[in-house]
Amino acid sequence: MATETDAIDGGTGTTSAIQRFDEWLDEDVSPRRALAVYAALGVFMLFLLLPVLYMILATFTNQSFLYSSALLPSLSSLTLANYVNVLSTGAFQQYFVNSTIIATATTALTLSVGTLAAYSLSRFDYPGRGSLLLAFLGTQMLPYVLILIPFFLLMYTLDLINSHLGIIIAHSVIALPLAIWLLKGYFDDIPESLDEAAKMDGCSQLDVLARVILPLSLPGLAVAGFYTFTISWNDFLLVSVLSQTGATRTLPYGLQLFQSQNQVAWHLVLTAATITMVPVIVLFAAVQQWVVKGLASGGMKGT
């Protein structure tokens, strides 16, 4: 990005700027083609990002702007008041903490259990292996509304209602199948000659996992971990069933409560919504390279 800006406003003369621009383009990308690509990108980015950016902008304005029919606020009217207001709400802080604990623990549980399972599916051969994987993936097909009520009864019997642990387990269960599948795809990609070499050097099967497979699959772990975190952070339905007090409510559930109690207070509702999405977006920014690459290979590959 930095280099791109350089190309546009830096440089001593137009010729050198164009030259440098050409250098950043791959040999086979003509400027005309690049222009078309940027135009198409612009259309897509408008469609995808403009609403999100506008929402973020709106959180820095006040209610009277939101209710006016103006599209853009004046710079002087921008304010942090909404953030102060929402963030100082005790319940909201509590939900934020709950969300963080639950999503982090869900990710840890899913990754540890999922890694073992994926390693087993990738490196061991035993009867029932294929059908186990299918069974895992099959659970993704269950409509939640079908199992909601018996699910509550089960969790009640297990004494997992209204506890962080119960929600963590529930979230792990819904994230596990795809996490295992993604990880397995990653592990499959690592040549077994590496395993063999490590074993020849005295590593046991578990050593191979810990010292060969895991270090090589960090991008895969990042993808699976991010996927799991997002599932947990974003879930509404299961929390609405399992939570009975503010002590276990998470942000999406709290947000739904908040917006039905303050339906006309758009400045606050949008701010709360923005705060809810910020952690997943920050986390995504941190792992995005791996996520994009991970989706680009791993489980998505065609073998």
């Binding site: 209610q63 982090t104 549980l109 590496l194 074993k199 050097d201 046991s204 503010g246 409560l257 606050l268």
Partner: protein
Amino acid sequence: MEIYILILHDCQWEAMPDSSPDSLRRRKLVQSIGLGAGIALAGCSGDGGDGGSLEGDGDGGGDSLGTETGGGDDGDGGSGADVLHWDAGLPSDEEDLDTAISNIQNFFEERTGEQVQITDYTYEDMRSAYLTGARSGDPDSVEGVLSHLTEYIEADLIEPIGDEAEALEWYDGYVDSTIEAMSYQGELYALPYTGNGRAMIYRRDVFEELGQDPPETADEFLEVGRLIKSETDLTPFHNCTKDGGVRAFQEWMSHVYQHTENLYATDGDGWTLNVDADTLGLVFDKYYHQVWASDDPIADPDQLGTGWQVNDPGYINGNFAMIECGPWIRGWTSGPEIDDSDAASEVLDENTAVAHLPYAEGGERATYLEVKPVMVNANSENGDLGFEAVASRCSPTVMEQQQSHSPGNYVTPVHEDVETTLESENWMPFTDVFETGRALAKISWGPVRQEFYPLMQEVAYGETDPYDAGSTLHSNLKSLEGDL
């Protein structure tokens, strides 16, 4: 065939890809290896050390999990409370909410020496959570609306509290009609803390300017609405048409009650529908078709499908000339929904008056009686304290304390020791309206509501003739008789 060069020194290795250009997968691996390269493999040299070394590693699934979930397990009652109470009738402003909760908690603690934890909810969420989860014993007590009371009785989710209630020193002070509304087959199932009748709330200034009196009948109502539409900038009227919304149902029931004692009458064992198709059609016509979908509607069709969230603040913010509402709107002059507090005070204090709801031909003055029950979970392991939570929520002392932040709940108090919060003459008619209120029969209202919403919306959106919708509703409600 993948070619890797492995350099192994005592199980320390570096993997390097061959240099031939190849697919993305190869490139990904190169990068992966770049990432993994720093992680040395010391420790498994020599005699193939078994397992063991797995834990210490960076991935650390097992370890972090243990601490994290261990900390989270004490989810219920972080404050060490003994009793859990659910409530959707608390103020939404955070400061007021805290005050309201501590008023109840303090009273409870004084009486029992124990702690009560209070969780706020919306009615919709609370109802489904209670129906799904109350058998678990939590919460110990629950607030609700009348239709919830009926459902919970039916589901054996609340228990009779007559004996304990009668022992309360303030029991005799509850207004009879509200206690009656809390009873079923001679048993008392709840205590009330607030009650009201729905009235027509209108802009006195606008009516005076146009030289109009508040409408007594539906036709006068529509006529004055159309006059307001042509003479002023205000939207003459708004009512709730939201699918599934509680208010929409209550507003409709108000008008049904003007024509019948109750929608269903009991004949000993079963229930029979107690209204005819034409009446249902008439109510649809006057308050939904004429209002929203006729050639000259008196509401703003852009606001179709909205609920109280538009209705109440819309009036307070000075956009509507008439709404059907309860007295809670009286003190609502601040909060995120209100554009301008001063303007809102002016509207509510000086320019608002209250009248009976208009009724159509063949009807009389009547309205939906709203009484909010507070109930004890029949599965609670702590029923006695659950009852104490109910008693605290509904005690005259707490009611008076709550007046400061929720004056609207105590305009027509359900207990004689509690003074009305009314000061303005204009609002006094609420007391008369309260007396014309009719409480919901003790049937399961879920299926009735389910039949009502789609037909109401079809009429309001102008898709169906109101009288056709009335007769469809009539036959659908008729067929419910057996299931109620």
